[in-house]
Every structure is written in C-alpha cells, then in structure tokens.
Point group: C2
Chain length 228, copies 2
C-alpha cells in the first residue's frame, strides 16, 4: 500500500474510533481501512477502559477484536447496534456505496442494517462521481451456481465467479460464493441494477449499499479528515 | 393423508408425468405431491425407456430419483431445463404460489427459474382466492438470525423461526434457516410483501412464486384432472 493511502486510511480510522462512547454496542466492519479503525479503537479501549461490546462482520475482524481484548456480543444476543464503522470500495456523492471487495458484503450489510448509525471510512481514492469503477460483488447460493451466473450474463452483465489461488471458488463466511460484476462504462442506474440482480433466485445480496451510510469520513494523508 | 386427497395428488402427479418426453431435462420438485409425480415418472421411465435426465430440488428428491434409476444432471452441468414439475402450498387464480412448507423453497425457486416450463401439481384444497391461508416460509442466513427475525416482526409480520423436534433450528439443504410468517387475515398484497421482505439483509428468498407457473394441474379424487 502506498504510504499516503495508508496514512489517509489511518486518519479516517482514528477519527471514527473517536466517535465511540462508553456504553455503545459497536459493529465492526471488515477490510484494511476497518482494520485501522479497530487498531485505534483497541488503543482507546485499553487506555480509557471504554465499556463497549463489539459485533464483528467477519471471522477475520472477530480475531482482531479478540486479540485487542475487546469483548464481543454473542451473535444472537442483540438485535440492534449503536454504531457500525466500515470501509467501502466506492462512495458516490449520494453516499451510495459499493462494498464487498473483501468478500464480507452479506454480513457487513446485515450488521449495517442492525445499526442506528453507519459510519463509512475511506481514503479519497474511493470517492467517485459514478459508481462502478470497481467490480460489484454479489453473494450467491452455491447450488446450481453455473445457472445463476448464466442468468446474470444473459441479462447483459459481465460477471465472473471469484476464485481462490487454487482455482476453487472463493467461499464466504456464510458458505456461499461471490460473483464479481464489471461495468464497462460505470454503473449509471444502480437502483435499477440492484432490483434486477436481487430478483434472480440464487442471488442472496449485492454489494450495493443504498440509504445506509449516515456519515462518510474521508481520511487525508496529513492526518486530517473531511466529513460527508 | 385422507384417501381422496391422496388419490387427487396421485392423479395430478400421473398427468404431469405424461407430459414428459424423451430427450427432456426435467426439474424435480419436492414434497408429497411431487413424490407422486416422481413415482409415475419412474414407472414411465422403466416401462418406456425414456431418455431423460433429472435435476432434483432437494436431497430427498434426489434419493427418490436415484432409487428409481433415473439419471441425474450434474448440479452445474446444465443452466436450463425443459420442464419442472413441483407441488405448491397454495395457488391463487393468477397462478401466484406459496411454496416451501417442506423447506425446499430456495432450491425449488432456483430450479423453477432455470425451466422453460413450470408445471404445478396440487389437490383442490390448495386452490385459494387469496394467498396466505398457509404460512409463508422465508429462507434466511443463520448469521444474526435473531436480528433478522426482529426486523421482520418490527415490520408488522408474525414470524417464527422453524424448529426441529429437538428445538434446534430447522436447517435447509443450503445450510440456512426458515422463518414462517402467518397472516392473520390472509395476504392481500403479496407483491408488496415480497418487496418488503426480500429487501431485508439476511433474507435470501421468500416462498412467493410469481409469474413462474406455466400450468397448474389440479388432481381429482376420481383420477381426473383440471388444468389452469
């Protein structure tokens, strides 16, 4: 990672950690920027003895929190969270997001939908005028996944099954697969594409997050932040 | 099962089996009525040496087909099917269905969506003017399922997690859970309810099947059938 991108993400992560107050149930996102937030949160948790519980959106993130001593909520012990902090692959001016490059989109979306506030932390390279410069991941059921991919392609999308290095399908924490959709000329109708894609039986969830982000914190290389 | 209901279902199953032609890729539904169809299909397959391959919508159904000697397609070897025969919990005059009482709704919907024709076989007790006399099953992600159920209830639905006899959650062939929604006064806005329920992160698929059934065969106790 380039040094100034790393510093930008660190700045966003630290600013988000500063929003957490004692008594909160905190949803934890997944990915490199979310990891910077968790690092800063652990620092505050240890120095200030914050009384918080965390709800992780992936096995990876759970491990980071546990390593820092932050107590986790039982997965089914709560039904709502005070605040979730997460990264994003792209953010447009209406705070619509594409998420899931790291493969955790379904749990991230469930955790975000449980939260009173969703704070998105990014470096400024993630800000776009039009979504779709990055692939759109969609989580699908493994059963008959060739047929699901064929349907997506028949509808005019460029989709590929995400593979691991050993050429086997990448498997999510939920035991499902991911199809990555590439937009040749960006995605100018995300709501329409969301409706089309999510109506396909076999598609569980897309990486589009609409009307979910309460605030977007854009980190700067000098340690400052901009808030949308 | 009452004798005349059994005879009605057998009649519908036999009439559906008579639609299958040599050379077809056939989707096989799941449940008691689908099992009568499979029984009749096996009889034709063995007597007439039909050249067919079957695509089962559940592990249970796969076992029935294998026991009868019918060859199965590999799960990812085909992306479309000629005809699928399946039961339903309820059918309304617009051929809208509720399916999934047996817990196989997601695979049934994927198989139905792969098929050029979907033939629904029922006894006449399944015909209703308004859907929602039976529970609507929805398949959900196990992760944070208490939160998903809480969201469904917050939206005004009466939902319960389906349990096995040992009080553990019923698990589908896909490793997911089922929530059964009960309508106090039937469901008068199924498209709206479908849109609301399927937009909840954590909900994979509902048991509503709209614009999918090509033909509905209603079996009669005297061995005859009515076709819608």
């Amino acid at each position: 990672m380039q040094d100034d991108i790393q510093k930008s993400r660190q700045a966003a992560g630290k600013a988000a950690a500063d929003l957490i107050k004692s008594g909160m149930l905190v949803g934890l996102g997944t990915g490199t920027t979310a990891a910077f937030f968790i690092e800063s949160l652990i620092e505050r948790f240890q120095n200030e003895h914050l009384d918080i519980k965390a709800f992780p959106s992936s096995e990876r993130t759970a491990k980071l929190a546990i390593a820092g001593g932050i107590p986790l909520c039982g997965e089914n012990s709560v039904t709502s969270l005070d605040m979730t902090i997460d990264g994003a692959d792209e953010v447009d001016p209406q705070k619509r997001l594409i998420k899931g490059g790291g493969g955790a989109l379904l749990r991230e979306k469930i955790v975000a939908s449980m939260s009173k506030e969703l704070i998105i932390i990014i470096d400024r390279n993630k800000l776009v005028n039009v979504l779709g410069g990055c692939p759109l991941p969609i989580e699908i059921v493994p059963f008959a996944h060739h047929a699901t991919l064929a349907k997506i392609i028949d509808l005019g999308y460029q989709g590929v099954l995400r593979l691991k290095k050993d050429e086997q399908p990448y498997m999510t924490d939920n035991g499902n697969y991911i199809i990555d959709i590439t937009f040749l000329n960006r995605c100018h109708t995300p709501e329409k594409d969301q409706a089309i894609l999510s109506s396909i039986p076999g598609v569980i969830e897309t990486g589009f997050f609409f009307n979910m982000a309460t605030k977007v914190i854009v980190g700067q290389a000098d340690g400052g932040t901009l808030v949308m």
